[in-house]
């Protein structure tokens, strides 16, 4: 049943791609056919005027999204059934290689990630129809967008369903390629092209690493189905090689430092509802892959892997958020924040690995649950924020924080939804981000039960880094909200922004915001539902998780720690309301509007406000070595001979150090190597004959 629904979900996504392809006068096939007919009679490119854009085009615009939404709905249903049912369903489809058909399976782990995928997908498909309206009359065909969105979603769902390495990789790459086309969708911008190129390149290299990781397992087991791979008898060296390859491959997709550089380039380039899916969901698919490979396929775990993952995860978390703080482009900032959150998830996974390999399976399970929960939470709030950024982009065509401000007055509903996202991602109680980070802290605090002193000191240090990260995340999102929504508008078009009128564009974020609050306040049912999942992966179910009842969260035992988000919410609301009642209702003193203090200069202008750049300046200065800052001051003089300075032009850029350390050198190395190799081909035929001659001589010498 669950697998059937999942299959329907994939089909719906594919149908949505198809619907986009064939539908509408803007549709690709339709258009292409008209072109063709036009060319056959040598009248190229006659625009089609028979079908006026009206009801038909609206149908064409919404149809793919309706199907995508259906796909999301089926995905959530299938995922819930699989997660709660706990059984694994498998099926084999007659595709693929002759001796290796496509094996599909849906187990609780995949089911959970189906839920992670489904909810943002529903939200994105609610958001989409309104958002893409502006593309309708643009240069780029809507059908291309719809086609690849559908394929992208189908690819992600198939990754979750895959039960053999071959199908897994097909689906994985399908996901990458389809999202590549989405990143390159508005390809007239050079930055988008560059981003798409970098993205696909890294996706390709990562995919090869994953293939090789599977290859190691296949080499020791003889088959490519997951069943066969699980039975691989590896020695620790080969297992470590497989693990390292998998970490590199999945980590590249998930955006772990230093393999993250594609992420802040690619995510902002895609249309916003796609960015939401990429950042919210696709990164989770990478995490799914990592969990599947490490916890499920690898026969045993080593604590060294856990340390590696913990270190990389912590580095990603703190570097991600530090870079996010320095971004002025809202979507770029959100993308860097995804690096941070993926880092947090990997930190939790690292803890789980360490505990699991040290024989503390119960604590390992706790870490895994924390990681899974944070994956879901991040999917929710990051999609919410990306959709919010998309809504701002749609209404104002502005991405830079430096030009925003005061949007809360112009778009109050969106502002409220965005605030929930901001609070969730800043890990504040009682929202969902806090629950998962709290669980991670709780896991880390159990480090005392580990024998090795090194690990015992490492884990708390990592958790302190995590604390730094979450504090910085709060700073970052205070900046975002404060600069974008509060204060005075910093540019004219922002001052004239309008509230969203398309109901779907609010409904999508609203759904996610509701989930953020719901899972923040009542995480217990969710964590209980993960029982079957952890049972299959680690062999344990958290026993004491609801020792105090469904209102309380007690990961280890009630004595060690307890947290009741519902009561926290209740208490906050009660106290707040009481104060309000006592202080306002009873006195009835209405507040008065007045000018704020402007130091007596007469009127505030937006220019006196703190900007996004100035807000994050102290952090930049404190963490100076992390950033590659480029500051230039250009003096403008009256003429070439004059020395009088009439104006100053100040330019400031914060670059990712990874570029200068890793990427630019490797790019240069390839170019240099290519130039060097190029000398081989001189163009002179005698040289070429010489090559053949010496090849022959050498080979003869070698074999005889």
């Amino acid at each position: 049943m669950s697998l059937f629904l999942a299959g329907i979900s994939v089909l719906a996504a594919l149908l949505s791609a198809l619907a986009a392809l064939v539908s509408g006068p803007n549709g690709l096939l339709w258009h292409g056919m008209l072109r063709w007919v036009g060319q056959a009679t040598f009248r190229p490119a006659r625009t089609n005027e028979r079908l006026t854009p009206g009801r038909f085009s609206r149908l064409a615009r919404t149809m793919p999204f309706v199907l995508l939404g259906a796909s999301g709905g089926f995905a959530v249903t299938a995922g819930l059934i699989a997660l709660l049912g706990g059984a694994t369903r498998t099926v084999t489809l007659p595709f693929g290689l002759p001796w290796l058909n496509w094996h599909l399976a849906l187990d609780p782990l995949a089911g959970f990630f189906f839920c992670v995928l489904g909810i943002p997908l529903i939200a994105a498909s609610l958001f989409g129809p309104g958002y893409v309206r502006e593309f309708e009359h643009g240069k780029h065909k809507l059908s291309v967008l719809g086609l690849f969105t559908g394929l992208f979603v189908a690819g992600m769902e198939l990754v979750l369903l895959a039960n053999d390495a071959f199908l897994f990789m097909i689906a994985w790459e399908l996901m990458s390629v389809a999202s590549y086309f989405l990143v390159a969708y508005q390809h007239e911008h050079a930055t988008h092209r560059r981003a798409a190129f970098l993205y696909l390149l890294m996706a390709e290299i990562g995919a090869i690493a994953i293939i090789l990781a599977f290859g190691v397992l296949a080499g020791f087991s003889g088959g490519l189905t997951f069943e066969a791979l699980r039975s691989a008898a590896l020695n620790p060296l080969w297992a470590s090689i497989a693990f390292a390859l998998a970490l590199a491959g999945f980590g590249m997709k998930a955006g772990l430092v230093p393999l993250h550089t594609w992420l802040p380039e690619a995510h902002p380039a895609a249309p916003s509802h796609v960015s939401a899916l990429m950042s919210g969901v696709m990164l989770k698919i990478a995490i799914y892959g990592f969990i599947r490979f490490t916890f499920d396929l690898l026969p045993s775990l080593l604590w060294q892997w856990g340390v590696l993952v913990l270190l990389i995860g912590s580095a990603s978390a703190v570097l991600g958020i530090l870079y996010a703080l320095q971004q002025q482009n809202l979507k770029r900032l959100l993308a860097y924040s995804s690096v941070e959150n993926v880092g947090i998830i990997f930190t939790a996974l690292g803890l789980a690995l360490i505990f699991q390999s040290s024989g503390q399976s119960l604590l390992g399970t706790l870490g895994l649950v924390a990681a899974l929960l944070h994956s879901l939470n991040h999917a929710l709030f990051k999609s919410l924020l990306f959709l919010g950024a998309g809504a701002i982009l749609h209404q104002t065509h502005e991405q830079s924080l430096e030009n925003m401000g005061g949007l809360i007055h112009r778009m109050p509903k969106l502002a409220a939804l965005f605030l929930i996202g901001t609070l969730s991602i800043s890990a504040l109680p009682p929202f969902n981000g806090f629950v998962s980070e709290w669980l991670i802290f709780q896991t880390a605090l159990q480090a005392g039960s580990i024998q090795s002193g090194i690990l015992r000191s490492l884990i708390p240090t990592a958790s302190a880094v995590l604390a730094l990260t979450s504090a910085l995340a709060a700073t970052c999102f205070v900046k975002v909200y404060g600069v974008a929504f509060l204060g005075l508008p910093r540019s004219r078009h922002i001052a004239r922004a309008r509230e969203i009128r398309h109901p779907g564009m609010l409904a999508g974020p609203a759904l996610l915001a509701a989930c953020c609050v719901l899972f923040g306040v009542l995480p217990m049912p969710l964590i209980n539902a993960l029982g079957a999942l952890t049972q299959s992966l680690t062999g344990f179910v958290l026993p004491n998780i609801s020792a105090l009842g469904w209102l309380w969260l007690t990961p280890v035992s009630p004595e060690v720690a307890a947290y009741s988000p519902a009561l926290v919410l209740l208490g906050t609301v009660a106290v707040g309301w009481l104060c309000y009642y006592l202080l306002y209702r009873r006195t009835g003193l209405e507040p008065r509007r007045a000018e704020p203090w402007d130091c007596g200069f007469g009127g505030l202008t937006p220019r006196t406000q703190y900007t996004s750049g100035s807000f994050s300046m102290p952090i930049r200065r404190i963490f100076e070595p992390v950033f590659d800052t480029r500051e230039t001051v250009e003096e403008q003089t009256e003429g070439p001979a004059s020395t009088r300075v009439t104006g100053l032009r100040y330019q400031f850029q914060v670059l990712d150090r990874a570029w200068a350390v890793l990427y630019e050198p490797s790019g240069r190395a390839v170019t240099r190597l290519a130039r060097w190799v190029g000398r081989v081909q001189t163009g002179n035929i005698r040289t070429y004959l010489g090559y053949a001659f010496f090849t022959l001589i050498i080979l003869l010498w070698v074999v005889s």
């Binding site: 190229p44 390149l201 290859g215």
Partner: protein, 488 residues
């Protein structure tokens, strides 16, 4: 076996007719017809083999087994689709004055001549005839490379001729040695060059001689495959000749040369009982793969770019055959199919793109998707397919090669990883600029027939999703034949 003879006779007749016919417009159509009939005959042959198993002709001159039967159909198919493309293409070239009627006649006649040579290479059972046909293929195409008579095209043709001529001469020396080795065991007579006979008696052949023979054969036919450092003719010839010819060179000739090498390898492996031949092939394959991947970065000419990509893929196939394990062999066989389908499709779109922009220089080709979406998307999707992204078929073979390498030679995988990454970057850094972006001034859509491209890519997609049963059986049988074990 009538079908096998038909496959040979039809292009022969076509060559004769087209060589004598003066009407260039009808020549294009006749060319298509010849290829269509050849395809029909090849399908008949395929069904014949499917039903009856490997077939040996009465004079033992022709031999069709599961290794070559699908290559024959593939050759006929690519030949047909390329000829469909070449009609309007060459008409356009005639209009723009790059060729005249006389050269067009030569073109069509040699097109059929080349097809004949290809069929002969694939069908023959005689290693000597195989050599003759291979040389014939060079001779048929060398004048086509210089068809435009530009200094560059003459230069390219000359290099093509000399390098391939010398290379193939070395292959003949290898063939002589092979014959010598066989004759010692089988006695003097006509049978000692028949592959079927040789294969049966491979174990008895003198290993020392076979080893020498293989070196000559590998260097000789390797020149035609385009193995580095013997590849130098390849990008020149591909870039300067007419595009349909680039398509069939890349899609067919390289495959057939590799086919010849693999046939020889089977004999040598049987004789030596060691992996020497495999190691040599792996070395050459890997070198070609890496060097070609680097060369991709330096290209300015669009057809040169894709010809280096061909070298890269041929290197990968050679490498995979060299590994010799069932999975790798299966992958290489499959890759031969998907690569030639994809690469010929790419060359067709490249031809249109070059006509659209009026140049082959990549820095002048811009904004294809917005100018003419069919060409832009065709090129983009084709390149995505050739770069090894699923669900296209090239992925499946690259996947298997990687897995097989990891199993048998894990320390080589970092090189493969780097190579694929570098090659990918090399392709896309040029491609993106061409297909994306705004339309340059004055660029207008042209009449283009992209049916071949669509069919090819659809087939590659189909193969990527699911290999039809009979084809899978052939691949498996051929794998069994080459590697001695079944991939199942």
């Amino acid at each position: 076996m009538i079908a096998a003879y038909l496959v040979l006779v039809i292009p022969l007749a076509g060559m004769a007719i087209l060589g004598l016919l003066a009407d260039s417009r009808r020549a294009g159509r006749i060319n298509v017809h010849c290829n269509a009939w050849a395809l029909a005959a090849s399908i008949w042959l395929a069904i014949d083999v499917l039903v009856h198993g490997p077939r040996l002709s009465s004079g033992q001159l022709l031999y069709i087994d599961s290794f070559n039967v699908y290559l024959i159909v593939l050759t006929a198919f690519v030949g047909l689709t390329t000829s469909i493309f070449s009609g309007p293409y060459m008409a356009h070239e005639l209009e723009t004055g790059r060729v005249n009627v006389k050269r067009l006649r030569l073109y069509y006649a040699m097109y059929q001549g080349f097809m004949l040579a290809m069929y002969l290479v694939l069908t023959t059972n005689n290693m000597g005839v195989l050599w003759v046909a291979m040389e014939g293929a060079t001779l048929a195409t060398v004048l086509l490379v210089s068809l435009y008579r530009t200094p560059e095209s003459v230069e390219a043709a000359w290099k093509y001729f000399i390098l391939c001529g010398v290379g193939i001469a070395l292959a003949l020396f290898g063939t002589v040695l092979l014959y010598f080795a066989a004759e010692q065991k089988l006695g003097i007579g006509g049978n000692a060059l028949l592959w079927t006979v040789l294969h049966v008696n491979a174990g008895a052949l003198e290993p020392n001689i076979m080893r020498l023979a293989f070196v000559f054969l590998l260097v000789g036919y390797g020149t035609k495959i385009g193995l580095v450092p013997l590849h130098n003719w390849l990008p020149d010839a591909h870039s300067e000749g007419p595009t349909p010819m680039s398509a069939i060179l890349s899609g067919l000739l390289l495959n057939d040369a590799l086919y010849a090498v693999v046939r020889c390898k089977m004999l040598v492996d049987g004789s030596l009982g060691t992996q020497v031949a495999g190691y040599l092939m792996m070395g050459f394959g890997l070198l070609s793969f890496l060097v070609a991947a680097l060369f991709l970065h330096r290209q300015t000419d669009i057809k040169r770019l894709f010809s280096y990509s061909s070298i890269e893929h041929m290197g990968l196939m050679t490498f995979a055959f060299g590994i010799g394990s069932p999975w790798a062999t299966f992958a290489a066989l499959f890759h031969m199919t998907t690569h030639s389908l994809t690469k010929s499709a790419i060359f067709v779109t490249v031809g249109h793109a070059a006509q659209l922009a009026g140049t082959q220089r990549m820095d002048r080709i811009r904004g294809l998707i917005l100018t003419q979406p069919a060409i832009g998307w065709g090129l983009l999707i084709g390149t995505v397919a050739i770069a090894g992204f699923p669900p296209f078929g090239v992925f499946a073979s690259e996947f298997l090669v990687l897995i097989a390498t990891m199993r048998d030679y894990p320390w080589l995988t970092p090189l493969l990883l780097i190579g694929i990454g570098v090659a990918f970057a090399g392709l896309f850094r040029h491609l993106q600029l061409m297909v994306y972006g705004d339309v340059p001034e004055g660029q207008k859509p042209i009449p283009a027939n992209l049916l071949p491209v669509m069919i090819h890519l659809a087939l590659v997609l189909w193969l990527g999703l699911s290999i039809p049963g009979f084809l899978g059986d052939w691949f498996s049988q051929a794998t069994q034949l080459i590697s001695g074990a079944s991939p199942l």
